[in-house]
């Protein structure tokens, strides 16, 4: 066993340690290298940015906890963006476990401990305003504040359940649910995840089916996202945007070119681009988790490329390739 072989047979826990160290250090230093944006993400951002209170979007949480690190920042980014522009957001979940992810994602946008959060007004709390016929966002905010409610200092705005958002959640055989929602959302979800009747919601009365919805963003860690193309886009032409894990992102480029999806956020990088676009356009004041992760991503990529190069040098210089050869190889 020569030097190179010894190097190749190093206990892999040393490599684990190296990755661990390289992942932690950049976090503590915090460089904040700039990120350029790509058209795939800009297209989604611009699309959402054009929307207003008269529109509505779907944000589908179609991932399980395993891939939340990648998918959550995308979904959270788009929900924030929509809330900023007063665009009503329907939220759904493809798997039982993604139901929990939806709740966690919503909690992240509306949690008072995070600056720039959106202060929730629950459906029952503003029932009297609804009954009085006040349903537009601007009027609601005025009336609500006239009643003595004060927006906390670190909050960005109020969001009214049923006016600005509806948590629809999980339903089994979700592709059929998508198909059903092309004719009526309330038929598929008589109640939302909090037990509120959907037909009483102003946002539902303005957007009764997927036909009246302007965009569906699906954030997925599996091919679940394809259901939105097959069952919504191909049936009634709903514009679809993808936010998928990096592992799957390369597979969906054909759908961007064919125009079946308006754009795609691929992995943490895609989410970071969206965060950058939001800051550039004054939607949020600071970037989020995805952008902060990109420094580490840089460091880890460099390390892995280095490992590949070193490994190959050791392999070829040490002559391991000669011992491991079959006759027929060209």
């Amino acid at each position: 066993m020569n030097f190179w072989d010894k190097m190749l047979n190093i206990d892999r826990r040393w490599i684990f340690l190296a990755i661990g160290v390289v992942t932690i250090i950049p976090f503590l230093i915090g460089i904040g290298m700039p990120i350029t944006t790509t058209t795939e993400v800009e297209d989604i951002f611009d699309f959402v940015n054009e929307l207003g209170p008269e529109n509505a979007i779907f944000v589908a949480f179609d991932f399980a906890p395993g891939t939340q690190a990648e998918c959550m920042p995308m979904a959270v980014g788009v929900v924030r963006h929509a809330f900023h522009n007063d665009v009503p957001v329907f939220m759904t979940a493809y798997f039982p476990l993604s139901h929990g992810m939806m709740m966690a994602g919503f909690d992240y946008v509306t949690n008072p401990s995070i600056d720039g959060y959106y202060q929730v007004v629950e459906f029952a709390e503003w029932a009297h305003l609804r009954e009085a016929g006040i349903t537009t966002k601007a009027e609601l905010v005025t009336e609500w504040e006239n009643e003595g409610n004060v927006l906390p200092e670190n909050a960005a705005n109020w969001v009214f359940e049923g006016r600005d958002y509806a948590l629809l959640g999980y339903a089994p055989l979700f592709h059929l649910v998508i198909l059903g929602m092309t004719s009526s959302i309330a038929n598929q979800y008589p109640e939302d995840a909090n037990g509120n009747a959907l037909i009483e919601m102003p946002m539902l009365n303005e957007h009764k089916s997927l036909r009246e919805v302007d965009l569906a963003l699906t954030t997925a860690g599996s091919s679940a996202c394809m259901s939105w193309i097959t069952y919504a886009r191909e049936k009634i032409g709903t514009p679809i945007a993808f936010g998928v894990t990096a592992v799957m992102a390369t597979d969906y480029y054909p759908y961007i070119q064919s125009g079946q999806i308006i754009g795609q956020m691929g992995g943490l990088r895609g989410a970071a681009e969206y965060e950058v676009l939001m800051v550039e356009n004054d939607v949020t004041e600071s970037t989020g988790k995805a952008f902060r992760g990109m420094d580490v991503q840089s460091a880890d990529h460099l390390l892995i490329i280095l490992l590949i190069i070193m490994g190959n040098i050791a392999y070829f210089a040490g002559g391991a390739h000669k011992r491991h050869q079959m006759k027929g190889r060209g």
């Binding site: 190749l8 047979n9 008269e54 016929g133 349903t135 537009t136 092309t182 004719s183 009526s184 309330a186 038929n187 102003p202 009365n205 303005e206 009764k208 089916s209 036909r211 009246e212 886009r233 191909e234 049936k235 009634i236 032409g237 592992v247 799957m248 597979d251 011992r323 491991h324 079959m326 006759k327 027929g328 190889r329």
Partner: protein, 448 residues
């Protein structure tokens, strides 16, 4: 093979599509199918109740009950409404066209109301609000709260709204036709043809294969290496490891892998080399066991079959990998086969295998795992090559027929792309528009 002429008519049928497209102007409503409506009354008096507007769920202000006092701001009421049946629906949509208000100034929107014939004034339902300046035509029936029922006769009335929300109502028009459902969706003809052609091709080749026709399949590199790899293991006197993937029996990759396992095991039985087949799925385990036993029997060495060679490890993904890696480090097999469906664990298996110095042959249809196999293994069957390899080795009509049928479909696709390339160049040089014509063949509008 000579009978590939079957492709010719198939392509010809596809080429007939543009002709079909020209023959049936899809969404255009023919003049004569639109019945003119008879006005019932110039009923400006038909008051619209306030709540029906609210129930309609729009942002608009409540309807003013009286026209404004000041003259000059009064809008001209819209005119008559014509209704046509919407094609390709379940009898739940109507195409509604109305004559808009002639007023330009102060016009905010048109509100369209509908009720069943014979209902009173309080039955008017607001079905659509069309902002001024937008087309005076829409499809009625999309609102799940006010569905259009097939066979029911409706009356329509349009009102012009000014900026203050006052309405100026036009005449009530009775639709002479009712919504009807159709038995064939004309917008889906291309899908029907494509689907039909696909079904035909698959079953045509399937039938031929079953009747025992000889069909050519090209050799696949990884498969040629199998013999050599087995020979090498025999020379070294070391065992062979075969992992039939981690998925269930319903996975196509698993089925393909088990077919290959049968062939490999037969060879191994002839050489008398030890074999190890760890399993993650209990059902796959039983099938794999059966498969190997059968192979030893076919090779004429049932005595050499070791019942412990095929075994069940555990269902947990990472525990399975840990188990297999342990075997690799202990037994140091000379050759590792990873054929079937793999997930994230592919990396771990192939890494340990390459460190143990084994020859590795992998194959999967999981695209995300293929790069790892290609860089760590000596031979990799990429995607469909795995299916083809199992058909090639197994010579089972079911599999060969499927491979040939899919090849025929790929040939059609390739034909289209090649033609598109040629026509594209022609268009560039001659300035014609032939590519658009070709694209028409497969282009479909988004239809419900």
């Amino acid at each position: 093979m000579r009978k590939d002429w079957i492709m010719l008519p198939a392509v010809l049928i596809l080429l007939m599509f543009p002709a079909l497209t020209i023959a049936q102007p899809a969404e255009v409503v023919a003049e004569d199918s639109v019945e003119n409506l008879t006005p019932i009354a110039d009923s400006l008096s038909a008051e619209v109740p306030e709540d029906s507007v609210l129930a309609g769920g729009t942002d608009l202000r409540p309807v003013g009950r009286e026209p404004l006092e000041e003259p000059g701001t009064v809008l001209l009421p819209p005119g008559m409404v014509t209704v046509a049946d919407h094609p390709n629906d379940a009898g739940d949509q109507l195409i509604v066209v109305f004559e808009p208000s002639l007023s330009d100034e102060g016009l905010f929107a048109h509100a369209v109301y509908r009720r069943e014939v014979g209902q009173g004034d309080d039955a008017w339902a607001l079905v659509e609000v069309i902002p001024a300046g937008e087309p005076n035509e829409f499809v009625d029936g999309f609102d799940p709260d006010y569905p259009v029922e097939p066979g029911v006769q409706y009356e329509y009335m349009v009102a012009a709204q000014d900026l203050d929300g006052n309405e100026y109502q036009g005449p009530v028009s009775r639709a002479e036709i009712t919504a009807m459902g159709e038995f064939y969706h004309t917008g889906k003809t291309r899908v029907l043809f494509a689907g039909g052609l696909f079904i035909f091709l698959i079953f045509y080749y399937f039938g031929r294969a079953q009747r025992g026709a000889k069909m050519y399949l090209r050799p696949i590199a990884g498969i040629d290496a199998v013999d050599e790899a087995i020979g090498r293991a025999t020379e070294m006197g070391k065992p062979i490891l075969y992992v039939p993937g981690l998925s269930s029996i319903s996975d196509v990759a698993t089925i393909a892998s088990l077919t290959i396992l049968g062939r490999v095991a037969k060879k191994i039985a002839q050489y008398g080399t030890p074999l190890m087949v760890p399993n993650r799925d209990p059902i796959v385990y039983t099938v794999a066991d059966e498969c190997v036993k059968q192979a030893y029997l076919e090779a004429g060495r049932p005595d050499a079959y070791d019942p412990d060679s095929v075994f069940f490890l555990t269902t947990s993904q990472f525990a399975f990998v840990a188990g297999v890696n342990g075997i690799m480090m202990r037994e140091k097999p000379a050759t590792n086969f990873y054929l079937g469906m793999f997930w994230a664990e592919s990396l771990l298996l192939a890494e340990t295998g390459s460190l143990s110095g084994a020859i590795q042959i992998a194959g999967t249809d999981a695209v995300t795992q293929l790069p790892f196999f290609i860089t760590t293994c000596d031979y990799t069957l990429i995607g469909e090559e795995l299916y083809a390899a199992s058909a090639y080795l197994g010579r089972e009509p079911k599999q060969i027929g499927a491979v040939k049928g899919q090849d025929a479909c790929k040939a059609i696709i390739m034909g289209f792309i090649t033609l598109a390339l040629i026509l594209g160049i022609l268009d560039l040089t001659a300035g014609t528009h032939t590519l658009d014509w070709l694209r028409q063949i497969v282009t479909m509008p988004v239809v419900d």
